[in-house]
Subunit: 193 residues, 4 copies
DNA sequence: AATGAATGAGCCTTCATTCAT
DNA sequence: AATGAATGAAGGCTCATTCAT
């Protein structure tokens, strides 16, 4: 996605990956207010090195989000292929789970303090395509009502992430998630006399 | 709730109210990172005046949240009294609406960056009591399934606020809200043969 | 000293005296960093009232020092009249005692952060005259060596105040004060063969 | 005393030393109320640089005091070794001299606004040990009366510093210092008949 | 390329002083 | 005359970003 005239030197590539990973974990745990110096310290590099790879804090954010998006999409597609009927529900669940421990991703998806569509239009488009794909498969499988579209699902993802962060994993799963699922299910036709 | 030996002087009361209002709007729009100086500027007072009324930024937050909570609760109870069956749905909608333009309230309810239960235990308790009250009325009216409790509703509120912020009012109302409502409705009994 | 066209109204005079007293106690206990608002609060008046009587914090300081100086001088002269030989020692002791609990007076005498001679030349002159007077009486009484002058005594006062503040009253009296006294006493003439 | 995993980079060490020196001079001249920004300006660095080396204003104070203490102790021990009988007097004189131009050191020794024993217990202990050592040597040499202890000497130091600050160097030396010395000298035994 | 020191704008908060009530 | 609210200039400290080593 990011093009470079020359591939990174091996040690530079290692540093970049390490910073990305550490930054992801740190922001996820502590929020976006963590100083870059702290990221550098945890990654075992100098602050200058972080800035060499990511010229602003914002760009580090972007890189993290792009990275996560990529992973999320891969996994979702795999699940949908394996079980189309459950695909959408599995995806929703997975996104809630991710988002709960991943403030950056959540906010990126929700567009809070970070405009995904503007910052990473490719990632945004690919994400929406994936949602549409998975949704269509589940609808064809008859497990999701047909008057729901990809934008609705994205909205639910945003909501579920917030809920998941607010309430514990297990409680969300057992108490709220079923409500959402019931809402998405194909409604019973009115009982005929 | 806050007691003062003597009521504030007229000018002071005016300033206090003005700061509160401006701070509410500003935080809602810009988030909690806005400097106090900016609040003061918008309110047309000196920074010292803000600090006279609210000795820390945190306390200004608290005052805003307490104020909003109070209003929200009042309105919700009035609605529930007028139409018990619709009470819960009206409440959910109202909270989503409020929360969308009111980051402070949202975060306070969700416990993000502000521990409502700790900072304003009275407000928190009253809020939960109100939720339980409205829910019970709707359940008695037969419009909400009985295996849902106040904590579930609070979770949904958090989710709806996030969704509402993400998506426009009208779209949320027409596309996502019905799903939530369907999920909360009393399920059809399995069709007997 | 300070002239006024009209004498203060009774209530104003009462307020002025009260502020002076409270400010003296507060500065003595807490140091000069105490805000004027705090003085006002303790005195039970508004901050504006303090400023009506003492147009700056500095001037409040001056008034306190002048007041204390006056009292110190009165008492010292009385003691010297009663017992000329002990007069100087009593005076030194008294000043150490005062100064220990009275940061303002100490610093004023020492000229630290407050130039007594410049701010209150009358008080300064009167103080030095008093020192000279008491010293002369003790020298005539034969209890103090004759090659010591008023400036030396003032220097010792400054030192004793610092020492007293550093060490407790009783320890200063029993361990260090005798050394000073021995130093001031008329030296033994060299033993003839 | 302070250990660092790696020695500071040359430029950093230069800056640190420069800040320390400038801060010493500035605090000595102007007192502790000088803003850090002013120190930084005089040192020709940014405020952030001061804070990099000394994370709080307090810690800058401590570093200065520790530095001075170290020098004072070294010098005093050297003098005492060279001339035990004069050692204590030389020490007193030196401390008075230092303290007069060094509000930080004075206040640290006197415990005014800075609790040496708490902030730098090692320095405090070493200082007291040094005082005791020098005193003992002078007492053994017969130049100081035996009923004086290290705490008394410390008290005198506090007093002398205050006096020195109040009065010029030469005057203190010629007029007051002899009094103190006379007080410390071994008293003449009462003349036998 | 990496390092980490330096920068400096900006934030929260305090407080001497002024001024409307 | 008294009150206490308002002002606004600092001050200590943080941190994104730049730059010398």
């Amino acid at each position: 996605m990011t093009e470079r005239s020359r591939p990174l030197r091996a040690d530079a590539a290692r540093n970049r990956a390490r910073v990305l990973q550490v930054a992801y974990e740190t922001f996820a745990q502590e929020g976006a207010a963590v100083p870059i110096d702290e990221i550098a310290r945890r990654a075992g590099v100098g602050a200058g090195t972080v800035y060499r790879h990511f010229p602003t804090k914002e760009s580090l954010f972007q890189a993290i989000v792009a990275d996560r998006m990529h992973q999320v999409i891969e996994r979702a597609l795999a699940q949908a292929a394996a079980d189309p009927g459950e695909g959408l529900y599995a995806f929703l669940f997975q996104m809630a789970e991710q988002g709960a421990t991943d403030l950056g991703l959540t906010d990126a998806v929700a567009g809070v303090g970070f405009d995904l569509a503007e910052a990473l239009p490719d990632a945004e488009r690919k994400f929406m395509d994936t949602v549409a794909d998975i949704l269509a498969r589940s609808q064809r499988a008859g497990t999701v009502r047909s008057d729901v579209d990809a934008a609705d699902i994205k909205t639910l993802i945003v909501g579920l992430q917030a809920m998941r962060r607010f309430r514990g994993d297990s409680e969300l799963m057992h108490r709220v998630y079923p409500l959402i699922r019931a809402g998405l299910a194909v409604p019973e036709p009115p009982r005929s006399a």
